[in-house]
């Protein structure tokens, strides 16, 4: 089965099925944003989640018993490739890829019953309350407290970089239930309804001018004890179930980079300089070729990562390497796209209601957004540290 990953057409039926699904109904106006490496708006992602769920594909990476597809790496690879080719989005949201798997691995039966189905069908939208102001990459230093009070925990503290908190129905929060333990112990994980009194948010303006993240203030928020995941004090280690899953998330992200390649190629094929097309000018063509070749190399690294998964082998630092290269290439690709647009790329917002070529604002927004991809999820510097320590023994 593993070797199927590397042959041209491992399972034509499945591929056709996927292709047919995507042949209808990916809205045209998603395309430009996806090519820029941008995420769609939550309402669009929710609509897409519902559409996938209706087809039974709401959770491609989940086991069947929890409503997932139970696909192996080969099917996932085919699915993502076809999705990328069809300009569908890479369906990542915190419910699907972060708290869902933690709940089905460590949650109580009640929690599974209550929380998993609405993630799949798009009725619940989750955000993640992990980062805290001043903590940055040093997550273990978190200070939000959860004090037991009868059948409740009372939470106090502040979170930051809480993406999509402004549209989320639920948030999962790490909080300290004991101050005696060492830094990474004494931390517990809670599932919280966003309508709970005492929760409030303040948007964080970011340089890409997209409202996607927030500060989250937690002021005497009472959380039912049944919403504690697993045992008290072990919240930190539950995250580890995600480590193994992470390489698949990383792999899928990198597969979608081919959409950016298409964007640059497309823009350069439309732009004329004098009598020649930009794409025919040797210097630009050479830069584009370099970018495409590096993307191709990354795609092959992704196939290797998934071949590891297919045979149940460890991948060592390959997941981190793919994440590092992906952010570098998204940055390079969006910069090239902006370059391909020429002088008008400075037209980001129309002030007089003029129509604006979709390329202009989204390419720029993508280029700006790309800068944060080497910061979030562990900065590139932290990734290097981790690889040096874990894989190289330095």
């Amino acid at each position: 089965m593993a070797s199927d990953l590397t042959t041209a057409n491992p399972n034509p039926d499945f591929k056709e099925e996927v292709r047919e699904f995507f042949s209808e109904g990916i809205p045209e106006n998603w395309r430009t944003r996806l090519r820029a490496g941008l995420r769609l708006e939550p309402d669009e992602l929710i609509a897409y989640q519902k559409k996938l769920a209706a087809r039974g594909w709401g959770a491609p990476t989940w086991p069947k018993e929890y409503g997932g597809t139970g696909w192996g790496p080969q099917q996932l690879y085919t699915f993502w490739r076809e999705a990328a080719n069809a300009y569908a989005p890479n369906q990542f949201h915190q419910g699907l890829e972060l708290i869902g798997p933690i709940i089905f691995s460590y949650g109580s039966d009640e929690q599974k019953k209550k929380f998993l189905p609405p993630i799949l069908n798009g009725d619940h939208w989750w955000c993640q309350g992990y980062s805290e102001p001043g903590a940055g990459s040093d997550l273990a230093s978190l200070r939000t407290r959860a004090d037991r009070d009868g059948d409740f925990y009372v939470l106090n503290g502040q979170k930051t970089w809480t993406s999509y908190a402004h549209v989320a129905t639920h948030v999962f929060v790490l909080a300290r239930t004991s101050t005696e333990a060492k830094r990474q112990q004494g931390i517990s994980l809670f599932l919280i309804d966003m309508t709970s009194p005492g929760l409030s948010i303040r948007p964080i303006r970011t340089m890409d001018e997209k409202h996607h993240t927030n500060e989250l203030f937690i002021d005497n928020v009472r959380v039912p004890a049944e919403n504690l995941v697993g045992e008290e004090g072990r919240g930190w280690e539950y995250g580890k179930v995600l480590l193994d899953r992470e390489r698949m998330v990383t792999a899928s992200t990198a597969i979608f980079l081919q959409q950016t390649v298409a964007a640059v190629r497309d823009a350069a094929s439309r732009r004329k300089i004098g009598s020649s097309l930009l794409i025919d000018r040797p210097v630009f063509a050479s830069k584009l070729a370099q970018f495409e070749i590096e993307v191709r190399a990354l795609q092959i690294m992704v196939r290797r990562l998934m071949a590891d998964a297919a045979r149940g082998a460890q991948s060592g630092p390959r997941g981190s390497m793919v994440k590092l290269r992906w952010s570098q290439l998204l940055q390079a690709g969006t910069a090239l796209w902006v370059e391909a647009l020429g002088p008008e790329a400075s037209h980001f917002r129309a002030l007089t209601g003029s129509p604006l070529d979709e390329d202009m604002p989204y390419a720029l927004q993508g280029a700006l957004y790309s800068r944060v991809t080497s910061i979030y999820g562990g900065t590139s510097e932290i990734q290097h540290n981790i690889i040096a320590r874990r894989a190289l023994g330095l």
């Binding site: 980062s131 940055g136 040093d138 001018e209 020429g342 790329a345 002030l351 910061i375």
Partner: protein
């Protein structure tokens, strides 16, 4: 000027530095820029007029100060340091350099620029021109005493608030010939002129022009022979932008150095991490390289001879690369908050990205350099 400001230039820098510090804090920047009335920015412009900055490069004969490029560099470095978003380069550097003749209309515009009562910009780029100033298809046809202009300009730098446009037009020759290009002064309310306005990611406000049978246009300089004038005016605008870029990247680097010394992670200032130290050194080298090239370009521009276009090309390429590198790394080293609007580093990155587009990209100038060498 041996890589140092003269006392006068230094005073100008200090004064602009104070001005930026007092009038242009980062917090509230977004609101200030997005105000459709541009109220505070209008007051800023008025104060700059009072300080005499708006007539800095206007010839003394035309009522200006006639200062050299060293003064421009000093002022622009401070503007870059505080990221003062204004149409200064287009209005006060580019247009005065274009309007060197003695036409009455030009004198009127210069006077109004100098006292702050009007803004102007130069309109050169067209849909298929790339950044080549001599690819001009917008047409001006002589009819009796007037010219009739038809065509588009796809991007006018800082043109959204301009009261006048200095427009390049083809009066003879084929669309890429150097001969046959003329300059016209066109008021924003000329019948047949449509001005579309846009905002960029750095808060600058640009325009796109549609000219349909515009007759209200005054020929500037000699017919058919404007290209040299346009190119040298754009070179001066580039020099000013490069000084702005060097001031901006130095500010971003300084802020980052400060952050490395104060921000603690894993129990120590992050500036103790060797990788960040070396990155910081590379950023400082980028600033040093850029500054040196800017001083050099300013010195060249101060001489009697015409400015060396290759020197400006080289500086556009290298200062642009340094500016991107320095400000990208400034954001990276600040981590998450570097990406937020609330501290100024991300604004520096946005400005560097846009400075690289203004009047031509790195690739454009590198290929001009390669051809000219």
């Amino acid at each position: 000027m041996d890589f140092l400001f003269s006392d006068e230039q230094d005073m100008l820098f200090q004064s602009a530095d104070r001005f930026g510090q007092e009038r242009f804090a980062c917090l509230g920047r977004a609101e200030l820029l997005s105000d459709p009335e541009q109220a505070e920015l209008g007051r800023l412009w008025h104060d700059m007029a009072e300080l005499g900055w708006l007539m800095l490069t206007i010839d003394e004969a035309a009522g200006g100060i006639g200062a050299g490029s060293g003064e421009v560099m000093a002022l622009m470095q401070a503007m870059g340091k505080h990221l003062i978003p204004s149409a200064y380069v287009a209005t006060c550097i580019l247009v005065p350099a274009l309007l060197k003749g003695d036409e009455d209309a030009a004198q009127t515009v210069l006077a109004k620029i100098g006292d702050g009562s009007a803004k102007a910009s130069g309109a050169f780029f067209e849909a298929d021109s790339g950044y080549h100033l001599h690819h001009v298809q917008l047409e001006a046809v002589r009819k009796g005493d007037t010219y009739v202009l038809n065509g588009q300009k796809c991007h006018v730098e800082d043109g959204a608030d301009a009261d006048w446009f200095v427009v390049s037009a083809r009066t003879s020759g084929a669309s890429s010939e150097r001969l046959g290009i003329s300059l016209f002064l066109v008021p924003k309310d000329a019948p047949g002129l449509e001005v579309e306005k846009f905002r960029a990611i750095d808060g600058h406000r640009h325009a796109k022009l549609h000219l349909r049978e515009v007759t209200n246009a005054v020929l500037i300089g000699e017919q058919d022979n404007a290209i040299a004038n346009i190119e040298s005016a754009v070179a001066l605008a580039n020099c000013a932008h490069l000084a702005e870029a060097s001031g901006s990247m130095r500010a971003a680097a300084d802020l980052t150095l400060e952050y490395l010394k104060t921000r603690e992670q894993f129990g120590q200032p992050i500036g103790k991490f060797q990788v960040l130290q070396h990155r910081m050194v590379d950023m400082m080298m980028g600033c040093e390289e850029a500054e040196s090239m800017v001083f050099d370009a300013a010195q060249l521009a101060d001489r009697a001879e015409p400015i060396d276009p290759l020197a400006v090309c080289a500086a556009k390429v290298r200062v642009g690369q340094c500016g991107l590198y320095v400000t990208q790394q400034a954001v990276q080293l600040h981590g998450g908050i570097g990406f937020s609007d609330e501290i100024i580093v991300s604004h520096h990155l946005r400005r560097q990205m846009m400075l690289n587009l203004a009047y031509g990209s790195i690739d454009h100038y590198r290929s001009v350099y390669a051809e000219g060498q």
